[in-house]
Symmetry: C2
Subunit: 208 residues, 2 copies
C-alpha cells in the first residue's frame, strides 16, 4: 500500500468525516459536496477541500464526491481495513485506562492485552486480559503485535522497551517520563501529559 504522510490534524478529522458520511440519509443520494460536509461538521470549506484532496483527490466541480468511494478512501487511509495490533506493558491506573478505552479502534488500532509483572494485577478471561510479563514474547509473536505501549514507571521503562523491541514491535508509545533508546527501524513516540498541561497553563498566563 503506497501511503504518503498527511498532517496529524487532517488524520484527526478523518473519523469525523467517516461518521458524518455514515449518518447521511440514503435519500440524499450518492453525491456529496465539500460545502455540505463543511457545514455539517462546522469546519471551514477550504480545510475540508484540502483534507479530502489529500485523502481521495478532488471532487468533481459542481457535483462533489461519490460518497461510497470517499468513505472507502477515508477508511483505507485510517487503516480501518488493516488493523494494527498493540500490547501495553504496565497495568497500573493509566495502563488500565488505556486498555479499556474504545477510541483506538476508530483509528484501526487494537490493544489486545496488557502485561504486568505484579501477579495481583493479572486478569484472564476478560475481553482485554492482563497477562504475565513472562508471556510477552510468545504473545507478541503469536498475535503479530506491531505496537508496544509503555505505562510502567521510569525505573522499569528502559528494560520494558528492550523487551518490546526484541519481541518485534515496530513502534513504541512511551508514557514513562524518561528517554529511551530504540534501533533505527523502530519508531518511538514520547508522550508527556504533564507537558500538554504545562503548555495550556503557559498560554493561560499569557492571556491573563
Amino acid at each position: 500500500m503506497a501511503v504518503c504522510s498527511i498532517p496529524k490534524a487532517t488524520l484527526g478529522r478523518i473519523p469525523l468525516y467517516i461518521q458524518y458520511l455514515k449518518k447521511l440519509p440514503e435519500e440524499n443520494g450518492e453525491m456529496i459536496s465539500a460545502t455540505k460536509i463543511a457545514r455539517g461538521l462546522l469546519l471551514g470549506e477550504v480545510q475540508v477541500r484540502k483534507d479530502l484532496a489529500l485523502i481521495s483527490g478532488c471532487g468533481r466541480p459542481k457535483i462533489g464526491y461519490e460518497r461510497t468511494k470517499l468513505m472507502q478512501a477515508l477508511e483505507k487511509r485510517l487503516g480501518c481495513n488493516d488493523i494494527t495490533n498493540a500490547v501495553l506493558v504496565g497495568a497500573g491506573k493509566l495502563g488500565r485506562a488505556l486498555l479499556n478505552y474504545a477510541g483506538f479502534e476508530d483509528f484501526g488500532i487494537r490493544i489486545l492485552a496488557g502485561f504486568d509483572c505484579d501477579e495481583n494485577a493479572l486478569r484472564t478471561g476478560e475481553n482485554k486480559p492482563v497477562l504475565s510479563i513472562k508471556d510477552l514474547e510468545e504473545y507478541c509473536r503469536d498475535n503479530n503485535v506491531k505496537i508496544g505501549i509503555i505505562t510502567v514507571g521510569q525505573g522499569s521503562a528502559p528494560e520494558v522497551c528492550d523487551m518490546l523491541v526484541s519481541c518485534g514491535v515496530k513502534a513504541i508509545w512511551n508514557f514513562a517520563p524518561c528517554t529511551l533508546k530504540v534501533p533505527h527501524d523502530v519508531l518511538l513516540k514520547q508522550e508527556n501529559l504533564a507537558l500538554s498541561l504545562a503548555h495550556l497553563n503557559s498560554q493561560m498566563k499569557i492571556k491573563k
Copy 2:
C-alpha cells in the same frame, strides 16, 4: 508578569535544564556554558542557546551563564514560583491516574482534588481527595482553581464543562472525545490520546 509565548518543545526542555543545573556539583563554580549544558543533556548546542536566549537572554561570550540567575529565570518561566491550582472531574481509571501523577508539579501545576458524582468513588482524608461533584463550586472558589480537567465520558462532558466555567476556571483540558464550547476568555485544550497513537501507526506504515 510579562510573559511571551515560547514554543512547546522549549517549554518541555525547561525541567531538563533545571534538573541538570540542580545536580551540578558546587565546586564547578557559578558560571556555566551552553556548550557544557548541551553536552550534559545530549542536546544540540544551537538548540540550547536558542532555548536559553528565549528564557533568560544570552550568556556572556566565552564565560556563559550565571547558574543561579539562569535557574531562577527557568523556574520563573515554568511558573514554579507561581503554582496554578487545578481540579479534575471524573475519577475513573484515567482520572485517578492523572490525580496520582506527580509530574505536573515540575511544571508549576498542582491538581488539588478530583470530583465525581458516584458516591462509591469518593475518597477523603487522602493526599489527593476525590470529592462529591456537589462541592465543586465552593472548592474552586475557596482554592483559587484556574484549570479544570475533564475525564468523564462523552455524555457528561458538556455539562461538566459548563460547571467548570461557572466555577471560574480559565482553562479546560478535555479528555472526553467530544467538542466542547467555552466562552472567549476560557482556553480549551482537547486531548486525544487515540489520535497520538493513530499518528504513530500511520508513520509506522509509511516507514514499512
